[in-house]
Symmetry: C2
Subunit: 375 residues, 2 copies
Amino acid sequence: MFRVALWGLGAMGGGMARAVLERRNAGRDGLEIVAAVDRSHVLAGRDLSDVVGLSQRSGVRVSRDAAATLQQSRPDVVIISTRSELRRVAPQIRLAVEVARSNCITIAEEAAYPWAADRGLAEELDRLARLRGVTVLGTGVNPGFVLDALVIALTGVCLRVDHVRAERINDLSPFGSTVMKAQGVGLTPEDFREGVRRGSVVGHVGFAQSLALIARALGWRLDRVEEVREPILSSVRRSAPHARVEPGRVAGCLHLARGLASGREVICLVHPQQVCPEAEGVKTGDFIAIRGQPDINLSIRPEIPGGTGTVALALNMIPTVVEARPGFLTMADLPLPRSLPQVLSPNACATAGGEHLGPQPPDLAARERPRPLLR
Amino acid sequence: MFRVALWGLGAMGGGMARAVLERRNAGRDGLEIVAAVDRSHVLAGRDLSDVVGLSQRSGVRVSRDAAATLQQSRPDVVIISTRSELRRVAPQIRLAVEVARSNCITIAEEAAYPWAADRGLAEELDRLARLRGVTVLGTGVNPGFVLDALVIALTGVCLRVDHVRAERINDLSPFGSTVMKAQGVGLTPEDFREGVRRGSVVGHVGFAQSLALIARALGWRLDRVEEVREPILSSVRRSAPHARVEPGRVAGCLHLARGLASGREVICLVHPQQVCPEAEGVKTGDFIAIRGQPDINLSIRPEIPGGTGTVALALNMIPTVVEARPGFLTMADLPLPRSLPQVLSPNACATAGGEHLGPQPPDLAARERPRPLLR
């Protein structure tokens, strides 16, 4: 059983709480939430189940005092789901590592390869984790999986890689107004370009991390990285709960990043994010094309859902992170991700037409499994 | 630079020799072939380059005396590409580990999860590897990647997995007569069924390994495993260099394996192998469908080529295996596979329209890369 503290109870952290509280946690790889931290005054003092809309009490009270709560609850892993920027989560990582002496997983995009965001800060956090003997990992669907880890794994069957292109086409419709603003949804093309200049239209956060992860894994030195943000103009009316796009206005942001080595493009990552892509016949999906020996063409249709996938990865990586060597690691340093079996619910099995899959008996499990990889 | 010994110089071992000898091996992750062993009297004493059809001499003579050659050449890794069965490669693994004190990679299908082939023998080899402080790995495209490692990695984005289906549809046309016989190509349906009974029609070797790898990673206990071999009947004439199929005869073997838990199918692996599938409109490809939360549907079209992919994986896993903890490991225990950068050839880069990608300068590389994962 792993003792988990959740720091940040927004859509992602709240989703993790719900996933753990809703599901059976039997077995040695099960998860137990031992602390929940959020800066919100509204949530403070409430039971975690109540906060995430579940009826049965969890017995975990949401606290605003991270230091005291983490120190008292002695978690094996603190999961930080608060901000995207390394410099914003760094104080929280420090506290998890130094005060709670805990391993740490964060879905902060820049933490997927922190050296690309701030080399000095990344090195400091890496040293701190080694000193305390704990592991820090940045993960998520993107960056952390679709446009980097999955690409890297695919190159494993290649004798030669000449060029990598990966594209993630998704639908922003379920998201709220903050996301719509960051992607420039509903703007005129002129306002979109002005927003890109002023920094209010952000596009995707994480290209620098994905480029660096791929390049490092393949031993490539990128001497230039370019990012381009273009408006996706809609020729039809599109509407979503938090967005309305008139014809001629911006439906989203076509954001791409290129990595060049010796003047040649070797990596191209493309992530157009828009509301209702199907309104103009665009199908969502994740696509990877490797040119080399051999060529590889992969597609995942529809795309791996960003929310569920990120919640799942953060939880699924817990046993691996607990076993891993100390330091600030990346998804490319760790064994293949895999779903936690204990997150399987009896209902899910029943709806899939079968009986419950019990956990493996301990004696058999001990014999069948090779010992943990790292230590 | 890693010192590599190749044991077995058939299509796969010969392909590895050619790949290493043809390509630049600069940098610390480069490969150097220090020994080549094959039982063939025809190859003995010849230069390895000559054996694999390259003009420039390698300086490595093929030897029939494995013990003496491996002991003298002090390889970091011995790659065994001789047989499919664990019991047939076990003496060779023992020799690599005990006499050469070397790490060992084998593409023997049953070694991808040796406990499924012979638990006692697997445990003995695992103990031996630990005792000698070296790592043994079974790898390849299938088993080892498409129908297991890639499936496992995909479940990493799932909160729940109810069912896994993976299918690999390939074209046998390039293969020789041994493969045609093992798949029953050209037989009447009656002779095919008789061949399955007698064991001459084998189908795919490795389903037991893939099922066990997936089940272990997901913490599932399979209480039953079923394999089915059905003839793929051709309604048209199909021909390949080593096969000719008349209408009404067998074009190949539809081999599938099911893993059941508590009476419910939880894994279904399908691998129809036939000559010229496109003759009847069947497109080749690798397909993975996960039912759970969320559902994931992946396709790779055409399929990852089995030969090149297996050669690549065996070579690409070398640095990881050298760094890994001792014991008999699986692809699910190790960090993501990735292409060796040094296998990149200047020609390949040039044809892709750019300059050569040099290796990263050592000082930068040392700072950018976290230290090796395992030790």
